[in-house]
Amino acid sequence: MKSSVYSTLDRRHFLRAVTACIALPALDVFADEKVKTVASHSNAAKEGPRNFVAIGAYLGWHQNAFYPKEIGFDYKLPPTLKPIESHRKDFTIFSGLDHRSGNGHNNWSNFLCGQMPGKYSFDQLVADHIGQSSRFASLQLTTGSGENRTGKGAMNFSKENIYLPMMRRPSVLYRQMFITKEDRIRTEYLLKSGKSALDHVVGEAKRLSGDLPASDRAKLEEYFHSLRSLEGRMARQLRTLDNPVKDPGYKLPENDPITPNLQMEASVIMYDLIAIALETGLTRVATLFLDGLGQVFTINGRPLSSGYHGLSHHGNDPAMIRDLILLETAHLECFASFLKVLKGKKGTKGKSLLDDTIILLGTGMGDASRHSNRDLPTLVAGGGFKHRGHHAVNKDSDKLLGDLYITIAQKLGMKVNSFSNSKRNMNEVLS
């Protein structure tokens, strides 16, 4: 059905509209229907936070160093969380929650997917609701990745349960965010020539489709839908090309720190870029995957006794645990700088950007030493929540991590009442 609307659209008219940078109603044809429903959601959520960031550690967080012994506000900071001590009013630690998913690295993506790894992930659900009107519906970033994560080993999954690529080169991300004049001319050329050529492809696909039975035509409708969506994306890019966000002049290193042992260096830059992307409205949703392989870190001038994965299988050896905690604390130091940067930036309605952003820091692996995916260490920061210190849940109770996700979604103004295996929120804990 939609393709007929498309075919009646005058391409020249469309391009003119784009170059003139006026959002003519014609553009709506390309927008997903979701966007319209979303608009009303965000209106409803004027007072709430506008952004969502999720950070996931592939090898988990050592529970004993992540969970405080005490419950509530009056707790002593556990070792891993020391770096964020000064922000303690701005986050809540959750212990005992998980998605009741399978065990093992294979099921890691339960972190954002819920009980079924590889299915529509929470960040994408959020992006489909609140991300559609910004330049990037969502940003998927990674650090420390030696090889590419694919399949169920990935973190982000689209509505079609397809894993999404993660960017690991800060310079590539930056170039996409703040395009140079030279790149702009080339990109504009590619977009415009490419867009006009799409018409040809559409024509060809339609001729093909005409000879097929109805069920096959329905299948090919996915192709048309993707074409339209791509066209919409191109239109959005063209629009932003003519109206670029000012380059804040962030100083990137000469070369990307992409070797896995420079993970911390890379994370600091990625956090900075996320903060800039949120501040400039380039995106509302971002995720950062902290990959863990065999990389050996040097911390305080000392190479750790084993690689990251080796340390995670500490087998309760105190020396290995000590090194593992050092390493995880280094991750939290990067995270602390992120919180600080967000606090210093302005959000909407006079709030800080931190209050305007819900941050979920967690993992899909509860105890890497045992490959157990129960009891996932989780922390929620910012978002204007009334934070609660340490909230402990009996891991055998019927409370699910998905309950917390629903609370996050609702705080973001989304009308969402279920996620994966969860069908209720946790607003009584966090609001």
């Binding site: 399978g102 690295h105 689209s158 492809v201 093909l208 096959d216 070797t259 490959h371």
Partner: protein, 874 residues
């Protein structure tokens, strides 16, 4: 015989089926079956309150409704297998059941057509191979994060499940652009020359390949594994291909006689290269000789290609992680020379004598060196075993001579000796200046050749339009895998000519054309024409089935000549494409998905199992070689379960499978990791699918075993049944690594709670019977930690009692049709890209029946499946 299967299957029928459409518009149910339905079924399944939403109180059936087809398939199934009516109700006679079955079968056969694969998007592997062949780039890699495919019916090449998403199309467009950039590049722009200086802190440190001492970076090993020997600039890469001036500052640390000159080998590495690369993956640039203990500078000019940086290795170091023989020799002589050195190593590796050795993996690198060094400095160091012929020395040398011992752990520890005491080649820094001029990399030149090959002609004096037409005439039929109409060529040509009329360059026009062709649905999809496959589509189906790639010249030629649909020719071609190597896609991709061995790479077993990449590769190879042999030797299907041969490495046969025939082997031979064929007695607990390490690993999680997951796996992949999804609120069991309870105790609830036991009494025995295999498939007789004897016994759904995996195998052989049908159906689903319907299942079943009756083999089965109507219909 089929009882077990059906009893289990009965549990799976939880699907609710909608009531039928308007009965008036369908065909009437004849008197006899109608009476049977009225007598036995409609009491529960009536119009007003249809149980399970199934209404059988109808006088006619509209067969064009797919829901009705499904409904009556179910009725037939449940009646044939005695599932319905329920036991406590009146039962139809055998004769009555037969009448009902005959009527349903004839209607279903009449109304269900063979075929119905949805347009099938190329999956990631198929797309990659297709692109590689199309543009003659054998090594082309998809951009990072290229989207994957979801699995449907267990495979990632099913039309219905291969979703096209905006992410996919954007990625296809990206690939198209990337390739067009390579083939039809923009004119090069000049780049200003730059100087980049690196200091000691700017080198990459990986494992124990290098260390910083006294403000210098020291190297120790010449291993071919770059992560054990090499260093490279952390933050440099050539932005363009060009000539660069390289300066390296180095010196020799404590060289001995004969160590000079020390040779520093400089190679060019792709910045994006894996840490697991070996040195030969990198392009050799230059050997630099250092002979002085003070800082010395060497400069040279070289070409660096875009995306490359430098890599440094001490080429003539005495130590080489990868040369285990040399390591043993080196250490033997060293121990002979220096008894204290020997005693210190013994102290580190055997702190409590031979019986209480340290875990070798914890001695890796610095930790190991600290232990050795501490012993060296200990005035009370025990020297009593420090002779060359002591048992400790022999064991120590043995460990040093093993993969892991010498190549990783103790080898890395030894490196630290060199870092501290020399000899070592030291680096102080580097300078990279350039580019002084731009060059075409070898790759650029290669691409110019490819552009010519694609068009079949050089541009020369041809007009843009003539050139593009030649290219299209040659390229489009290859891209779309069938001849194309002239008007299609003209339509594409128009895209380029319009572009040129607007003043764009030749390459820009060609670039645009390419971007278009590579996202055409005719390239991205197959199964686009209904009905029986024509010659071209048959070639495509055959080719992707065997190779995951487009038809080669021979197939395309036969299709063009209309000869491929000839049965004999098709069989010839199938024989030609049959796997001969384990890397063959039908072997690798099919087994990887059917048996889930694909997942092995992401399991990351606990280090205590000592299963690293090498072991996982052996495990995968075992399955692949076994499957390959089944085809090559045309073995009977039952040999998948209980063969008289197996493929494994002695190291595995001994440690994992504990095969008796290795008992008499000498220790050295037992350690071999070379995979070979073993003849084994039938009826063994090892051999066959249900005993291979890979399969036991993929059904566990790397830390402990989970009988339920294994049970479900056997149901799905060996017996061919799909158990229902587990209830949502039940968590996975947390591994009890302390081992206070046995898995049987943990799962006791399954048999107690009725809601669980309904399914689990069928699932769990199939999992428990495999409990003798630990999470990596090692044979064990006790549950870890508890010290309790493993109880693997159980009762199969047909009442057969089994004690162990040998009994299960025997049962599977007695019921070989179950497994054979499952395998044949899986192959057919994989080949056709669709779930099989009633009629297609019937065809496959008759092929299997024929195969078993005639005593034919696995290759015959594949050929018969290809010859079937099911295979040859869209």
């Amino acid at each position: 015989m089929m009882k077990a299967a059906t009893a289990i299957a009965a549990l799976m029928l939880f699907v609710t089926v909608n009531a039928q459409g308007n009965p008036l518009s369908g065909s009437r149910i004849p008197e006899a079956p109608r009476a049977i339905l009225e007598n036995y079924c409609v009491d529960c399944h009536d119009e007003n309150s249809p149980k399970a939403d199934i209404n059988l109180d109808v006088s006619s059936v509209k067969w064009s409704d797919r829901q009705n087809i499904k409904l009556w398939e179910k009725v037939l199934y449940n009646s044939e297998h005695g599932i319905m009516p329920p036991a406590k109700k009146d039962q139809p006679t055998r004769e009555e059941r037969k009448i009902l079955a005959q009527w349903i079968d004839s209607e279903l056969t009449k109304h269900i057509k063979i075929g119905g694969t949805s347009p099938r998007r190329l999956n990631q592997a198929e797309y990659l191979k297709t692109i590689r062949e199309l543009v003659y780039m054998r090594d082309y890699q998809l951009p990072p994060g290229f989207p994957g495919d979801s699995e449907t019916h267990g495979f990632d090449n099913i039309g219905e499940g291969l979703v096209m998403s905006p992410t996919h199309l954007a990625s296809y467009l990206k690939v198209a652009s990337e390739i067009a950039d390579l083939l039809y590049p923009q004119p090069r722009k000049s780049v200003p020359s730059k100087i980049q200086k690196g200091e000691v802190k700017d080198f990459v440190l990986s494992f124990s390949a290098s260390a910083i001492k006294d403000g210098k970076l020291r190297l120790a090993s010449k291993a071919r594994d770059i992560m054990r020997s090499c260093t490279w600039p952390q933050q440099h890469q050539a932005k363009v291909s060009g000539v660069y001036k390289i300066t390296v500052d180095g010196s020799c640390f404590k060289p001995r006689d004969g160590d000079l000159p020390m040779i520093l080998e400089v190679r060019a590495r792709q910045v994006s290269a894996s840490e697991r690369s070996v040195i030969s993956n990198f392009r050799f640039l230059k050997d630099l000789e250092f002979s002085s203990e003070t800082r010395q500078s060497h400069s040279f000019e070289t070409e660096l290609y875009k995306g490359e940086t430098l890599s440094f290795r001490w080429k003539n170091a005495e130590f080489d992680h990868n040369d285990l023989k040399a390591t043993v020799k080196l250490m033997t002589e060293w121990f002979k020379r220096d008894k204290r050195w020997l005693a210190a190593w013994q102290q580190a590796v055997f702190p409590g004598g031979l019986k209480k050795r340290a875990q070798i993996s914890t001695l890796r690198g610095l930790t190991g060196w600290i232990a050795i060094n501490k012993a060296l400095k200990d005035p009370k160091l025990d020297m009593s075993e420090a002779t060359l012929d002591s048992a400790e020395t022999k064991e120590l040398l043995r460990i040093l001579g093993t993969v892991g011992g010498g190549t990783h752990n103790l080898g890395d520890a030894l490196c630290h000796y060199y870092f501290n005491h020399g000899p070592s080649l030291e680096l102080h820094g580097y300078t990279i200046e350039g580019p002084s001029k731009l060059v075409d990399s070898d790759i650029d030149k290669q691409h110019q050749k490819i552009a010519k090959q694609i068009a079949g002609i050089e541009k020369g004096d041809l007009s843009n339009e003539e050139y593009a037409r030649k290219m299209l005439e040659r390229f489009l039929p290859r891209a779309f895998r069938r001849p194309v109409y002239k008007k299609t060529i003209e339509a594409y040509l128009a895209i380029a000519t319009e572009h040129w009329q607007q003043g764009h360059t030749l390459n820009e026009g060609m670039h645009l054309l390419f971007r278009n062709i590579l996202i055409s649905p005719q390239l991205l999809y197959r199964s686009l024409r209904s009905g029986k496959l024509d010659d071209h589509d048959l070639g495509v189906r055959l080719s992707y089935f065997f190779t995951q790639g487009p038809p080669d010249g021979q197939l395309a030629g036969l299709a063009n000549a209309g000869k491929l649909s000839n049965d004999k020719e098709l069989k010839n071609q199938a024989m030609r494409l049959m796997p001969t190597r384990r890397e063959h896609p039908l072997v690798r991709s099919f087994t990887g998905q059917w048996l889930d061995t694909r997942a092995l790479k992401s399991i990351m077993p606990d280090p205590k199992f000592k299963f690293a990449d090498r072991e996982i590769n052996i495990a995968t190879a075992e399955v692949e070689l076994f499957f390959l042999e089944m085809i090559k030797e045309n073995r009977p299907i039952r040999d998948f379960i209980d063969p008289d041969f197996t493929y494994t490495a002695p190291y595995f046969a001994d440690r994992i499978y504990k095969m008796e025939q290795l008992a008499t082997w000498d220790e050295r031979k037992k350690r071999s990791t070379r995979i070979q064929r073993f003849e084994i007695p039938r009826g063994s607990r090892y051999g066959g699918l249900l005993g291979q390490s890979a399969i036991m690993m993929t059904t566990a999680n790397g830390v402990d075993t989970q009988p339920v997951l294994r049970g479900v796996w056997v149901l799905e992949n060996i017996l061919g049944m799909s158990p229902p999804e587990p209830p949502e609120d039940v968590p996975a069991l947390t591994p009890d690594t302390r081992g206070t309870t046995t898995p049987r105790e943990m799962l006791a609830a399954h048999t107690k709670k009725r809601s669980c036991s309904n399914c689990h009494r069928h699932i769990d025995p199939l999992g428990f019977v495999l409990e003798n295999f630990d999470p990596v498939g090692r044979w064990r007789e006790q549950w870890p930690g508890t010290g309790k004897e493993i109880d693997a016994s159980g009762i199969l759904p047909d009442g057969t009692k089994i004690r162990d995996v040998v009994d299960l195998k025997r049962w599977l052989i007695q019921n070989e049709k179950i497994f054979a049908t499952n395998l044949a159906e899986k192959l057919m689903v994989y080949a056709t890209g669709r779930d099989l319907n009633y009629v297609e299942e019937k065809e496959v079943q008759s092929i299997v029946k024929n195969n078993l009756a005639k005593g034919e083999g696995f290759r015959d089965l594949i050929l018969d499946l290809i010859a079937s109507e099911t295979f040859q219909t869209k």
